[in-house]
Structures are given as structure tokens and as C-alpha cells.
Symmetry: C2
Amino acid sequence: MAGGQDLNERSLYLLKTLVERYIQDGQPVGSRLLSKDPNLKLSPASIRNVMADLEEMGLIHSPHTSAGRVPTVSGYRLFVDSLLTVRPLASAELDQLQASLHSQTETATDLLGKASKLLSDVTKMAGVVTLPRRDSVSLRHIEFLPMSSTRILVIFVTDTEEVHNKIIHTEKQFSTAELQQAANYLNSVFTGRSLAKIRDLVVKDLEKDRHSVNQGMIDAVNMAQLAFAQQPDDDYVLSGETNLMGFSELSDMERLKQLFDAFSQKHGVIHLLDQCLQADGVQIFIGEESGYSVFERCSLVTAPYSVNDEVVGVLGVIGPTRMAYEKVIPFVDVTAKLLGAALNPK
Amino acid sequence: MAGGQDLNERSLYLLKTLVERYIQDGQPVGSRLLSKDPNLKLSPASIRNVMADLEEMGLIHSPHTSAGRVPTVSGYRLFVDSLLTVRPLASAELDQLQASLHSQTETATDLLGKASKLLSDVTKMAGVVTLPRRDSVSLRHIEFLPMSSTRILVIFVTDTEEVHNKIIHTEKQFSTAELQQAANYLNSVFTGRSLAKIRDLVVKDLEKDRHSVNQGMIDAVNMAQLAFAQQPDDDYVLSGETNLMGFSELSDMERLKQLFDAFSQKHGVIHLLDQCLQADGVQIFIGEESGYSVFERCSLVTAPYSVNDEVVGVLGVIGPTRMAYEKVIPFVDVTAKLLGAALNPK
DNA sequence: GTTAGCACTCCACACTGCCGAGTGCCAACA
DNA sequence: TGTTGGCACTCGGCAGTGTGGAGTGCTAAC
């Protein structure tokens, strides 16, 4: 985006301190206050002139005549993109994070929960972690258990150590031994392959095996098809939503309800987070940029996380637009890396 | 509790209509309004006399001098215990409920979620369902999968068709075959027994087997001990929390935050719900009766649900004290029965 | 025991005046 | 030409005020 170009150093510095100041106290900041900045040796009047320019460019705006100025979304954007001085984590903090995310005792699912909680605890905002994309993870083990005559419980484990289960229905009634055989077959053929790949193979196998002599294999592949049927990735772990209730900018009950509703509906949020899968680092949505009206007064700072060098999910922090980006950004970045590391197969 | 005794029919009827009225409009109800009740042929002045009595007994109370009266907790309690005319569900409604809870395609976990959602959707309040108590359910199948050298993923399925998994650590390193054998042994010995029973047996077996020749069995039992180690039942499925944000009596943000915090902490709520396990039908906590200050302005209507004639969990509805008890009570009752039925092994 | 009447209390709401903060504009200055 | 002080102006927030309505408690009469 242009915008930055037309501005001289001074205006930019002014914008920067204005935004920082506003993030700090949450009050519209006026010319008098800014004139006290030691690096900005200007009278309030001059500052007002600069501010008028900034306002004309849509970077800041006055809630009403006699209030100070507040950054607009574009203002925040410019700030975040070019003005921000991120402060990397102290190594002590980093060690602490690493310690809390690197535990041998836990399943992947627990780990995701922990990461989410960590995000919210540290930032005092809401933390979110999407479950690893099912397509990218690979199969480690599959198992069939008969429940009732034609209902079969499928349990499968991925290389991220997540355990999935679902009930499938079959026309034919299978014995425990037959199911065992089917599982053995699938385990021998598909272990280590990604679920997406398996779906491909299954379709091909069905073509090929149609006239095969081995009915057991056909059955097995049929069951695999049911088990791995495409399912939208529509889940995430959210923590610390309640932290959001403390922010005055979100204190409108109607709005807040809509936001929390969006959290429990999930699909909107997931859609938003999916957009961050491609980004190769921290990605930020400020206010209405997200395109979802419920996030109008929120910002979302995300980073993708990877297992085996492949991006499988996204984590992030949701909070009011007025948040301490300079701390949140490096923190989200690091957390994503640590989570990825913790999830890597040992 | 006494209280009802000292009151004549008329006062009770007056209390009843007052509570009904208040539940309906949420406004303090005054003598004028009550005098219009066709069954209560009294002038406002007389009604005021009766109300003064009721107030003296702590059943109703005036928010301020010139407002009408509002039921107190004791007032609600008397109303719910002796005055309420519950309205049983229409059979059409019942069929509909049955339909939504009786599905073959789902795992138990999905079913609990569905029940919770049902509770919240129908009542427009929050629905909660505790997971079946692990102790009472019995084992259907257990399985060990090696993850890394000494980390083993244990997967076990209960007769409620719930799939549990956890990571255990062992000193010794086991081969896949050894793990398979251990699982086979445990499955043959323990299938169909309750987890509590299994824990008992495991301890005894360890005593007995200490000098056994068969190391494999010892290992198996050891692993079983790790897998079934006592864990507090501390989980439930909550739905429709956001519905609570619409109620004016809960619209204080500070309070609401505390309530939602309690929901995510879980243990307080679980403790409360556990108290309802013994009750042999619908149990109600009104306002501060629960003993938890976060529920000061809430009521909780619960009913235990059973599998195989044994109570394994509790479900209920959380809403403002001012709720339509006459509808909620039978609905919660029926839902508990339907959920129990749906969970019964087929 | 029931009722009408009456004085009283209190909330809700609208209106007022006032203060402080911050602005935009202009004229003077370097 | 850019910077500055001065000044009139605007607006939100707050405290104080007055009014109307709702509902009460009390008392005296039925």
C-alpha cells in the first residue's frame, strides 16, 4: 500500500508515538501531550498541523471535536508494517516458553490446548490454535472395532499422535477377525502416507480391485474410504475468551455476544485462520480488515506452525485493535515455532 | 423447609401468581397489577397487606420503596417445590427430541454434545452435560501403540463407545508384538468390567503376580495400572453460554466474566453437578443456594442420566433465576432419560 | 376482614449550566 | 516558508434540579 511515501520522517515519527501512546493508555491523544515527547521538539500548534495532515490521509481520526486523535485501521496498518520496533523475546522468556511446550507426557491434543492456553495467559487476550490439517498429517495406525452388527468404530492415529475416531456403517456384517485383517492390510499399505494421499490411493485401488479375487482387500479399501472421507477441518482450541470481556472497547454486550457466537460457530473463524496458512510468517488482521464484522474492533495476530517442514496449522491471538503489537508479534511467532517443534514425531 | 405451613391458600396463590408474573415480564410486580388477576378478587390495598406478610416471611422483597415486589430465593424455592404446575411435554415435542437424540451414526461423545446443544437451543439458556463417569463405565477394548522408545499410546474404548487415549511412560522398551500380547491379555481378562473394578483387580494382580513366571502378564498389568490410574472426572460439554449474555440480570460485565471463567475452570461447576448425581430426579439450585457466588443470579436445573440402570452423569440447564421452571424442569427430565437411552449399548 | 383515600418515597428522565480538554484558524515571528 | 502563541469555539462529562409516575404503608370507614 502507498501512503507512507507522501509522509516525511517527522510525520511518521509523530504517528508512531501517537499510536504507541494510544496503545499505552487507551485515551485519544492530543497535541499537548505529544508536544512533551523529547524527540519531538515542536509546539502543540505545529503538531496540530501535522495531525491535520495525518487525518486528511485517513491515518488518524478524532472521535469528536474536542478529543485527541485515535489511529484508524490504516493508521495501525502503517504502524505495524513500517513503524513498529518489535522487541524480541528475552532468552529467559524463551526458555520458559520452551519448557512449557516441550513435554513428553502429553498427547498432541493436550499440547495444542497447552499452546492455546499459553497464548492467552501471556498476552491476557484470547489464544487460538487450529488442529493440524488432517490432509497433511500421515497415518500411523488404523483399527476397526465392531460395535453393533453393522456399526464399526474406526480409530486411527496420525504421526502427530492425535487419535481420531468415528463410527461407520457397512452393509455387510464383519467378524472381529475380518476387521482385524482389514486393519492389518491397511496398516501395511498406508502407514506413513498422508491422509490426502491415502484418499487418492483408495479411489485408484477401488478401480483396480473391482475385479480382484481378494474380497477382503476390497472390503478393507471400502472401509478406508468411509473412514477417511473428506471432512472439513473445522476445529480449533480457544482459550482465554473471557479475557476479552475486560476490554472496554469490546464491552458492548451485543457485540460481545456476536463475537462469542462466532467463536462457537467456528466456521467463520476457521475460514479466517485458513487464510493465514499460506503466509510464511506472522500475519495480522486489524479490525475490519478481516472482512468479518464481528471482528470490527479486534485484531488477530497469527502464525502458521509446521510439522516435518510442512505447514499444518495456524495459531494466534485475538484481542482488541489496541494491543501491544510489538510484544505480541514476536511472541506469536516464537510460539508457533515451538509448537511445531514439540509436535514433530520423536 | 417450613414456611409454607403458616400461609393460607390465598397467600400462596398470590405468591404463585406474583412469581409467574415476574418470570413472565421481569418487572417487579405491584399490587395494582395483581388485583387484576381474575381468580384473586381483592383490591390493591388488601393485596398490599398480604404482600407485607409475604415480605415479612422473606418470600418476596422490594428493590426499593416505590417498586413492586420480586421473589427472593426462598420465594422461588417455595414456588418450585410446592406451587409449580409443571407442564409435561406435548408428545409431538417428545418425538422430536427423541429423533434428535437417537442417531446411529454417532459416537457417544458426539451424542453428549448434541444433548448439550439441544438443552441450550430449546431453553435459550446454557446447556451442560457431564461426561459419563469413568469409574462406572466398563471396558470394551484396550490397545497399546508404541510412539517413541518408552512412550506408549494407550487407546481404550468403553461400553458407552467413548474413545479415550493417553500417553504412558515405561521403563522397559517394548516391541510391537509384546504390546500386542499385553493388550490381548488385558482384553481377555478385563473386557466388560467397570474401570473401577479393573483398578481393584490390577492392584490384586500385582500382589499375586509378583512372583509369577510370566513376565508378560506382569508387564501388561503394570501398563494397565498406568492407563487406568485414577483421574478426576472433570469434564463436561457446555453449549449456548452466549445465550446467557442476553439476560439483563446477568448483564454486569464483571459478574459475567466471573461466570464464564468458572465455566472454563470447570472444577467448580463439576463439583456442583456431582452433587446432583445422587438425586434421583430433577434437582434445582436457585441463586446462592448453589454455594458458589458466581451463580448468585443463576439457577441450575439438573437431572442425572443412566446407562444400564446405573447413574453415570448429569445434565442440566443454567440460566437466570428468573426462568420458566414449569417448562424447563420436565424438559431436562426427559432429555436425561432420552440421553441415557441413546447411550445404552446396542 | 376489606376497602378507599392520602401522604410519602423513590426511580427515571430530561434539562441545565459549567468545566476542561482539545481543536482550527490566524496573525506574528524567525 | 515553516513555526509559534493566542483566541474563539466545540464537545463530552458531570453534578444539580425538577417533574411525573408507580407503588407503598397507614389510617379510618365500611
